[in-house]
Amino acid sequence: MKSKAHRHEASFRDPSGFIFEDGGTVKRAINPIYFPVYQALCDNDFFAPLFKAKMLIPHVEEEQTPERIVLKPDQLDLMTYPYEWSFDQFKQAALLTLKLQNYALERGFSLKDASAYNVTFQKGRAIFIDTLSFDFYQKDQPWRAYKQFVMHFLSPLVLAHYHGAEVLKMMQNHIDGIPVSLVASLLPKRTKLSPTLYTNIHLLAKLEAKHNDEYKPKSRKMHLSKKALSNMIRSLYDYIDGLELKQQTEWGDYYNKTNYQPEAFIFKKQQIDHWISQRALKKVLDVGGNDGTFVRALSEDLDLAVVADIDHNAVALNYAQVKANKEDNILPLWFDVAQPSPGIGWVNQERSPILNRLSKWGPEVVLALAVIHHMTLSGNVPFEDSARFFAGLSPLLIIEFPKRKDSWVDSLLQRKREFINHFDHYHQENFESAFAQYFETLEQVEIPGSKRILYLMKTRS
């Protein structure tokens, strides 16, 4: 089993098979223990409709021996994790999981796990990526993955509904989902009056606490008819489908708040568009990309633009546009440049850090528009460090530098009050000399009607 040496770090929990890399291509090996299920799935033409509906990552069977079957799935551009999704992305992932369970039940199968890590976003939509999650449905048996579904999906969504999207970042601390006892204690008392929340959260927490110490689980026979199970799935679907974020404020006002004159805004768009189409760049990472306005303004037909922003509302608005316009080349990412998601889980490698995933994806150019003053003045990150950070992401950088006299910079500086003198280093010459250690400037232009400069830079080799 030489391929086991290349087994992916996230792929050890399920004995059915594992993910491995073969010359840069991600593949899935199936162990003999899972052969009967896999064969039954194939015999029932289970996969093809899911591929067509873009609900499950498509694969082709590459090898079949008595020891193993190897599948080659479509390759993902960039794997994103639950704590990097907006509320609505999270919701779509939950609904997709329930849809798949419903689909499986109708065909005599069932999802054996319901982890949020089984879903990611590809070509603008949520897609299920764990092909080996399907198992035979056992007659009159409850859903084994039910508690996992509650911990991974229902709990974070309901908590976010009551307490705001920031709660979704809790998933970073709880790789197995948010403990039900914690959710029950955090929810407002009135949620006990909701039949869905009372049964799925409060009663579940109570029964879990009560039976936690029992060591003879097999002594109890549990029956749940298929109809009842289907009702449970359908009701969860309806409930989650109706969940919304309370804090969702008015959008669309973002670019009105900037200090740009319209002509400066148009100039900036055209200049960036020119640089990108001149070089026919196809993979763009927009750091601090807000709701994706800039990448949508590009005339180049991009393969993928990853638009990262710290503001949940911006990410949510971006995803709403991706969904409404059926855009397949924009991936909204909830991302804090000062605190990117770390590696979590087993040996800190089960879920890898976002910076590793981004550099593996390999953007051809990074856009850093109107972020450097925030990084330097709000985040206190020295220019040398931000230069090194950008140089590690991509060979090309388009960066906008607001000069000291820019009104936003001035406002950030005024907030420093008596420490304002500690930020004297924020000026153009320092910026240029620090970035010159890592980059060579190919072009630079002043944006007319503003106190800002646009640079096109290339990393020094």
């Binding site: 929990r13 419903n102 993955a145 029964l207 879990e208 606490a209 549990m222 009702n231 009701s235 969860l236």
Partner: protein, 73 residues
């Protein structure tokens, strides 16, 4: 045989979580029943909107649909 015992080692579904499903499903049954009833009453008065994306909906691309139908017939 070995297959199912392995599955049990994979992760703990939680005894409480297995037991609670009977009650969850019963409550879900009542919710769905009353929803259906409301839907029927509303549609009687012409107050319903067509549902676009329910749990059974599978969205196929327009251009891919035709060859499929030919294949299956």
């Amino acid at each position: 045989m070995g297959y199912f015992s392995m599955m049990f080692l994979y992760f703990d579904p939680g005894l409480g979580a297995m037991l609670v499903q009977a009650i969850v499903a019963a409550a879900a049954g009542i919710i769905l029943f009353s929803k259906n009833l409301m839907y029927k009453v509303k549609s009687f008065f012409g107050l319903t909107k067509p549902q676009e994306d329910g749990i059974d909906a599978m969205e196929f691309e327009q251009d891919e649909k035709q060859p499929n139908e030919e294949q299956s017939s």
